[in-house]
Symmetry: C2
Subunit: 353 residues, 2 copies
């Protein structure tokens, strides 16, 4: 998949530089945006296709690569929204545009003030360039999917799915932004965001896209909904745990961003509900504090352990992985595909991911 | 077209509210984003189709409506980049989200600070919500186009065009952001931005989309390139003049934004090249000044008149309209289509627009 994406990026690079040599910073970030990742969405699309009884082939790899380009687009915009500074250990697009991706103009509008906000501010010019990168990636994704080489009749079947995938993903992000920073945290609302933003987008819809391309039966699609929603929630819950307890050297992400930003995660919701006395006051004080330091982060982690929030999340993850695996028995599919999806239920939510 | 778009928005509204009632602010801005406009891009797509000898029909109206949704998406992101506060006399999406579109969270991350920047700041939370609105509109545009009802073989012919349209538009915006704020202004660079950002996007590519859907001959597409690039530049030059000399009550836009932001317009480039002595010093001092007031704007307008920049732009517009009209003779097309496109060359660049 990496080699495949590299070839697609090289094609687009040539076309962009054919328009203007000044687009070099855009090209450089385009390459960076698709350079890393676990390729989960491509993998699910591929196994959805195989579960429909279709053979391994080059065309479906291109369709799967399109799904990764959609993800690169979504991630680029998401990183602007969250003002995330690193992803996979590398600077995010708006951070890269702020620091070196493009020469600063001699006289920029006052609200494009990168310098006073430090490199990677979500504000102004670097964010504008990164937003355009995301738009480009999304447009290119559509092109790559449409020209993957599979018959037009196969592609036509996926039109409603694409539209649902995009709507659900935007809806999930929108709800997350609305709820971020709120002190009234609720597990059900966190899981609703996770369902749209992660479960459907990362697992269910990619599986549906592959299966629909392959002409799968209705019961396979239903099994994938059950598998995808359970596994996707587990995946988001694991991400939340890693976002607070993970090793930044392995995850490539800060362990303070979620708490600093008071993200509506289930982990924070459960901790808020369970913590008592001084622990509760500490949570109220530190969650959402933009200046939270590593020592404060460590104290919050202790509270989350002490009140049992982390353990409860681990139990929820285990339950959901089991439910996802059981859902694979709801419909007939070739043993290779079933085996791969069973394995993915474990590895996609791996503790050290 | 307005009624048609209204129906499409009502459909999408129902689907979004089906996901969550909390998406009401998104729905409201979705409606607002497509509520107004000259529908130029839909009109060009329609007449491209008719120029190919195809009849008036419902399906092509839906394809044309998709082009307007693409435009609404582009405009939503463009308004964030420019921090434009009004469009067609109404608040832009990020301004609306800042002031009333969505309740503020009780404890937002520090860099989502809408209040300290005033409503409509391009920063943080309102901009994040508006960015998501743009993403939603773009996704919906793809759905509307793909399901317009025209034969799959017709739609398949337009795939490379869509990809070029999106790439060129992003490239034009990217170059504009890179060049905005620079004191070294050059007419050729301004026109390059106008070519990608406006001429191809507003005129040439919509005509090509309609003509290609309709199966037009190669010489018709070539004539549309000549017509589109000339007319599109004229359109951007008119927009630049109106952006400085227009009546905000008619244009719905501020006459100070372009100069405050030091946008790379041909008008500013020519004025910079022509102005001498104290006029030149005034330009250097006031262009790019974020606090420029109406009195300063008036002095700048006087400089642009006195040095002949405005008159030179008017002459360039006249030349380009003539070139566009002449280009319609380069290929055979039905008289109705030719007549409509000839009329559009005049009205699309109308002084009072």
């Amino acid at each position: 998949m990496d080699a495949y994406l590299e070839r697609l990026i090289a094609d687009e690079e040539a076309r962009l530089l054919g328009l203007s040599g000044e687009l070099a910073p855009l090209v450089s970030q385009l390459r960076s945006a698709v350079g890393c990742g676990k390729r989960l969405r491509a993998t699910f699309l591929y196994w959805g296709w195989r579960a429909a009884g279709q053979p391994d082939c080059e065309d479906v790899l291109q369709a799967a690569a399109a799904m990764e380009l959609v993800h690169a687009a979504a991630v680029t915009h998401d990183d602007i929204i969250d003002n995330s500074r690193t992803r996979h250990g590398r600077p995010t697009a708006h951070v890269a545009f702020a620091s070196s991706g493009a020469p600063a103009p001699s006289r920029a509008p006052a609200d494009w003030d990168a310098s006073s906000q430090g490199p990677g501010s979500p504000h102004g010019r670097p964010a504008a360039l990164a937003m355009l990168l995301g738009d480009l990636l999304m447009g290119y994704a559509g092109h790559v999917f449409t020209t993957c080489g599979l018959p037009g009749a196969y592609l036509a079947r996926t039109v409603p799915l694409w539209s649902e995938l995009l709507r659900e993903t935007v809806a999930g992000e929108f709800l997350e932004v609305l709820r971020t920073g709120s002190t009234a945290r609720c597990v059900a609302e966190s899981l609703e965001v996770a369902r749209y933003k992660t479960a459907k987008y990362t697992v269910e819809r990619p599986l549906h896209l592959g299966a629909t391309l392959g002409g799968a039966r209705e019961d396979v699609l239903r099994a994938f909904t059950a598998y995808g929603l359970a596994l996707g929630e587990a995946f988001q819950l694991r991400d939340d745990v890693l976002g607070t307890f993970g090793d930044p050297a392995l995850t490539g992400k800060s362990v303070l961003d979620d708490v600093r930003g008071a993200k509506p995660t289930a982990l924070l919701a459960i901790a808020t509900a369970r913590a008592l006395g001084p622990d509760k006051r500490l949570l109220d004080k530190l969650v959402g504090d933009p200046d939270l330091d590593e020592a404060g982060g460590e104290r919050l982690r202790e509270v989350m352990e002490r009140c049992g929030a982390r353990q409860e999340i681990e139990a929820m993850i285990t339950d959901r992985i089991a439910a996802a695996r059981a859902a694979l028995d709801l419909a007939p599919m070739p043993p290779t595909a079933r085996g791969a999806l069973d394995d993915l239920a474990g590895t996609a939510t791996d503790r050290a991911l």
